[in-house]
């Protein structure tokens, strides 16, 4: 009988069907689902953060350089005269782009929901005159003060407010919500890492003997870690895809509900193409996180063996 052919030696990383060396290292079971849920929650949280960002940017652009002059005067005739005076003073200023007296019926429409339509009108509760002012460029405290001084010189009962200052608390709230979203995403990432760590540890334990054999046959820690990385990477990819789908569905549904509100503020909170791309990257970051966590876990565990 002929002797078997002996082949020459070579050396690099595990290739080809090497992923079949450790089928049990598939951390399947709950792993893809855990990652799917984490990715879905992250997608929703990031979407909320991005939507809030757009909302704030929109509102900012709208009211930037805006100021409101209020003239509180009970007698309608005097009030109108003072308002005209204020409008003319404002119109003559260099730094003012646009001045508009808010018409009384528009004002009545704004107030009606709170005061009732009957309470307003000629004999009703006196309403202040409102003048919208748009400055060239952004509003600063100094410019606001200058405006205030100029108007009050002619109309002492006038009050000038920056529109942004009315909304300052809203912006603060938006900022807080964004921090909350960021915090949630970080917590989700941390939890996912912990889940991967646990799964990798238990897979290492379950495959202890096989890992020993691969070591004895000259397999490197990197090759062994690579087997686990491929397995967890595949799980994370599948889970991430499912999570992305779940998250997108939730965003669409929420988006439709907000669109139904027909509120000017929320309308500015939609997501742009760039935002969707950012959201689409979340599963990829999830895969990266899972693979890196698995590698660190496996490599540090193997370092303790001979």
């Amino acid at each position: 009988m002929s002797e078997p052919s002996f082949t020459p030696r070579r050396s690099t990383r595990l290739s080809g069907r090497s992923s079949r060396i450790l089928p049990q290292a598939r951390m399947s079971g709950p792993m893809p689902w855990v990652i799917a849920i984490m990715v879905a929650l992250s997608v929703i949280a990031v979407a909320a953060g991005l939507a809030l960002n757009n909302l704030a940017a929109n509102a900012q652009a709208e009211i930037e350089g805006g100021a409101t002059v209020q003239i509180v005067e009970a007698a309608p005739a005097r009030r109108d005269r003072q308002a005209e005076l204020a409008v003319s003073v404002l119109s003559n200023r260099e730094d003012v782009e646009e001045v508009r007296r808010v018409p009384d019926d528009e004002l009545a429409d704004l107030l009606a929901p709170w005061l009732g339509a009957d309470a307003l009108g000629e004999d009703g509760i006196p309403t202040p005159a409102l003048i919208d002012v748009r400055l060239r460029g952004a509003m600063t405290p100094e410019r606001l003060e200058g405006l205030d001084r100029a108007v009050r010189a002619s109309v002492p009962s006038a009050r000038v407010d920056a529109q942004a200052s009315w909304l300052a608390p809203v912006f603060e709230a938006i900022r807080s919500l964004q921090y909350l979203a960021l915090g949630l995403v970080l917590l989700l990432a941390l939890t996912s890492s912990a889940a991967v760590w646990l799964a990798a540890r238990s897979a290492l334990g379950a495959n202890r003997d096989t890992i020993g054999v691969i070591h004895h046959l000259g397999g490197t820690d990197g090759q062994i870690a690579g087997i686990f990385q491929r397995s967890i990477g595949l799980d994370a990819f599948l889970g991430g895809l499912a999570g992305l789908l779940l998250g997108f569905t939730a965003i669409m549904l929420l988006g439709r509900q907000f669109a139904g509100l027909d509120s000017g503020l929320v309308a500015g909170g939609g997501l742009g193409l760039g935002d969707w791309i950012v959201l689409g990257c979340i599963p990829l970051l999830g895969v990266l996180l899972a693979v890196v966590t698995a590698r660190i876990t496996v490599m540090s565990a193997l370092r303790r063996s001979l």
Binding site: P4, F6, T12, G212, V213, I214, L217, G218
Partner: protein, 241 residues
């Protein structure tokens, strides 16, 4: 002749104890030369497996010095061990086949670890399985193989990458005498290609089957030297091919 006198393995006053027990190996000193065929004999419990574990780098000694391929392997950094292990083929006493891989994939494992492509792997693995008489079982999982069949898969896996040193622990313990002789022929074939072979066995009948072999005997963890294996470099007969 200079190649023959350059040692491939050198033990110097090696001792081994597991935990805090007494030493299972004491004052082990010997030199192995490339291309030789060694038997390591001794009663069960004499320390054969322990000594082979030192040889295939699964264990560090408690004391003494070990050089392999001209390098001190005791102080060798962990990251350099895989490269050394790839130069050593090992038949474990308990086989250690990967349970969820077929016979073919178990034998292919060393080649895959060393980075060979699938097309380069197929033929040598098939040839090897044929040689050990298991070509018809190449898709079988180890659990469905008999003890003797598992042992032959383990041997095929140990020799497939043509190691420089082959270490086999009771490699014929589970096969019938005919297969035992056939497996020894495989070791001899590998030996003729230049591999240094170390076979541990408690079966003294086996020793006679390989005429040029050198014999080391372990007795209660100490080494004796019936053929002078430890004192002299091997005599190679140039006529043999």
């Amino acid at each position: 002749m200079s190649e023959a006198t350059t040692s491939i393995v050198q033990f110097d006053n090696v001792g081994l104890r597991y935990g805090t027990d007494r030493e299972v190996l004491s004052d082990i000193s010997f030199t192995l030369y490339p291309g030789s065929f060694y038997f390591l004999t001794g009663a069960s419990g004499a320390g054969k497996t322990s000594m082979l574990r030192l040889l295939y780098l699964a264990q560090r000694p408690s004391r003494g010095m070990i050089r392999m391929f001209g390098t001190d392997v005791i102080t060798l950094p962990r990251k350099n061990l895989p490269a050394f292990r790839r130069r050593i083929g090992t038949v474990f006493q308990d086989f250690r086949l990967v349970p969820h891989l077929s016979a073919f994939d178990n034998v292919a494992l060393p080649l895959r670890i060393s980075g060979m492509s699938e097309s380069e792997i197929r033929k040598p693995v098939s040839d090897m399985l044929e040689w050990v008489g298991l070509d018809h079982r190449s898709d079988a999982r180890p659990a469905t193989l008999s003890g003797g069949e598992q042992q032959r898969v383990a041997i095929a896996r140990a020799v497939i990458a043509r190691p420089e040193v082959l270490v086999a622990d009771e490699p014929t313990g589970n096969v019938d005498p005919d297969m035992a002789v056939k497996l020894l022929r495989l070791f001899e074939a590998l030996n003729r290609l230049g591999t240094t072979v170390v076979v541990a066995t408690h079966d003294v009948h086996l020793l006679r089957k390989v005429p040029d072999s050198l014999i080391m005997r372990l007795d209660k963890g100490r080494l004796s030297d019936p053929t002078g294996a430890l004192r002299y470099p091997p005599r190679r007969e140039p006529a043999r091919t």
